[in-house]
């Protein structure tokens, strides 16, 4: 495995970490870009999804948007925006492309989470005299939390991964290390850059899984409910619905 040894050597050379083109600077660019895009996407997608979910309208929109989003290559959007008049405005092409990419999973998952919240519970809460906003904040969002977080997680990981493509269109971020390596036919650098990006993506995924567990508004209750219903459910398949959101038991 000459490539891995070469990559290790590249990574352990201090000179590659410092300066404008160094790893630290690229990492900071990458995180800043991903964070900004994610924040913007949440600001756009979540209010719309929660509102539509609360009203119970626009399901076709939410689902189709996600399907169409998958069909559009981010690379193409990125290049199209770079060549458009926006291209002269710094990072905007990248930011817009990434936001367009992150909105569909956020919107679809949050909407589905709201719709799949137990209708009986919601009706009961309404019967107890809760107002619309109270219902949204204290019943529907906590019930929809797992799916909202699944959407947030997949959007985050995808954005962190896709921000790499900004380098193809001349932007910053860790992808720059890979494209520079390709440009110089320097396989060690290419592999080193790829490892850095992969490790970052996996780290972000891990952090989000932890955050999801710690921030769950119904942390104790959900676990208790699962334990209580376990003997009854044990025989059923049930895996179809649990599969996307389930995490290994602690």
């Amino acid at each position: 495995m000459g490539a891995i040894a070469g990559a290790w050597q590249w990574l352990t050379t201090a000179a590659h970490w410092a300066g404008e083109k160094g790893v630290w600077h690229r990492l900071a660019e990458h995180l800043w870009l991903s964070g900004l895009c994610l924040a913007l996407s949440c600001l756009i997608a979540l209010p719309v999804a929660l509102w539509l979910g609360h009203l119970g309208k626009g399901g076709a929109l939410a689902v189709n948007l996600s399907n169409v989003g998958r069909a559009v290559p981010t690379f193409a959007v990125l290049v199209l925006l770079t060549l458009s008049p926006l291209g002269t405005r710094g990072d905007w092409p990248t930011i817009i492309a990434l936001v367009l990419f992150a909105v569909p999973p956020l919107l679809t998952n949050a909407y589905l989470g709201m719709r799949e919240a137990d209708r009986d519970v919601v009706e009961a809460a309404r019967g107890m005299g809760m107002s619309g906003p109270q219902l949204l904040l204290r019943v529907e969002i906590p019930l929809a939390y797992p799916l909202i977080m699944t959407g947030l997680r997949s959007a985050t990981v995808q954005v962190v991964a896709t921000a790499t493509l900004a380098a193809l269109a001349g932007g910053g971020g860790l992808g720059r290390i890979i494209t520079a390596g390709f440009g110089n036919y320097d396989t060690a650098q290419v592999v080193a850059g790829a490892l850095l990006v992969a490790v970052l993506a996996l780290t972000v995924e891990g952090v989000l899984v932890l955050a999801e567990r710690l921030l769950d508004p119904m942390r104790g209750r959900r676990r208790a409910a699962r334990r209580a219903s376990y003997p009854a459910k044990g025989a059923g398949p049930g895996a179809t619905r649990a599969a996307p959101a389930s995490a290994p038991a602690p």
């Binding site: 069909a71 690379f75 991964a161 193809l168 992969a198 996996l202």
Partner: protein
């Protein structure tokens, strides 16, 4: 450059939409589209061939399900640019890099959907088939797989559509199909080339999706009959409610 009598051609003014480009570079466009289709089709086919046994293993041995699903999910979080970069030392700069990367991505979606489809086959159906003397292989081929087809095709559609989109990144190693045109268009600030290739890419994805949807309708005629029956039942219920 041969400009038309009416003024400078759209190639000279670098317009986004340019008939001249379509005419003069049609061969290039066709070649890129063929490469794109080839890479996508091969990747999805190999993905399906690998995903199916993996799903069977994950179903047969409960202990294997976690690692199989976990591994394919981890693969999915590796960015495409990094994936292709990691595979270049193994395969050199070749189409195999792109195909392998795309196969690895498609596994996540395919394994999950095939597994979910197989697990959703009702136990009593399985029992009935066994009672009729079906062996495990015949049970799988003639009962379980047909019943799992809707979930399988749903996964196949998602995998195909995202593979069509992701093939463009293959342009970093020169095997990106239409992505090659997008990359070269970007390098030369050639707007018509970028837009045409992008639009073709989206059209390919939508076309592939429609094709698979049609295939599923052909292969699972009973779901349509069920859908009709359900609609009739619903209508009947509504009428009954209105009457009562």
């Amino acid at each position: 450059m041969r400009g038309s009598a009416a003024g400078p051609s759209c190639l000279e003014t670098n317009d986004w939409i340019c008939g001249e480009y379509l005419r003069t570079r049609s061969q290039e466009l066709v070649d890129a589209t063929v490469q794109h289709l080839g890479i996508t089709a091969v990747s999805v086919a190999i993905g399906l061939l690998i995903a199916f046994p993996l799903a069977l293993v994950a179903r047969r041995w409960r202990g294997a399900a976690g690692p199989v699903l976990g591994l394919t999910t981890v693969l999915y979080t590796i960015p495409s640019l990094a994936m292709f970069a990691l595979l270049t030392p193994v395969f050199g700069v070749s189409a195999a890099v792109v195909v392998t990367g795309l196969v690895l991505y498609s596994l996540t979606i395919l394994v999950r959907n095939i597994l979910a489809g197989l697990q959703a086959v009702p136990a009593e159906v399985r029992e009935a088939a066994r009672g009729m003397g079906y062996g495990p292989a015949r049970l799988l081929c003639e009962v379980e797989v047909p019943l799992a087809l809707p979930a399988l095709v749903a996964g196949l559609r998602i995998a195909t559509v995202s593979t069509v989109a992701m093939t463009t990144i293959g342009s970093v190693v020169g095997y990106g199909g239409l992505g090659n045109l997008i990359a070269s268009g970007m390098a030369g600030f050639f707007k018509a080339e970028v837009l045409t290739a992008s639009v073709l890419c989206v059209l390919l994805a939508l076309l592939a999706d429609l094709l698979l949807m049609g295939l599923q309708r052909l292969l699972t005629p009973w779901t349509r009959a069920q859908g009709r029956a359900a609609a009739r039942a619903r209508r009947g219920a509504r009428v009954a409610k209105a009457g009562g």
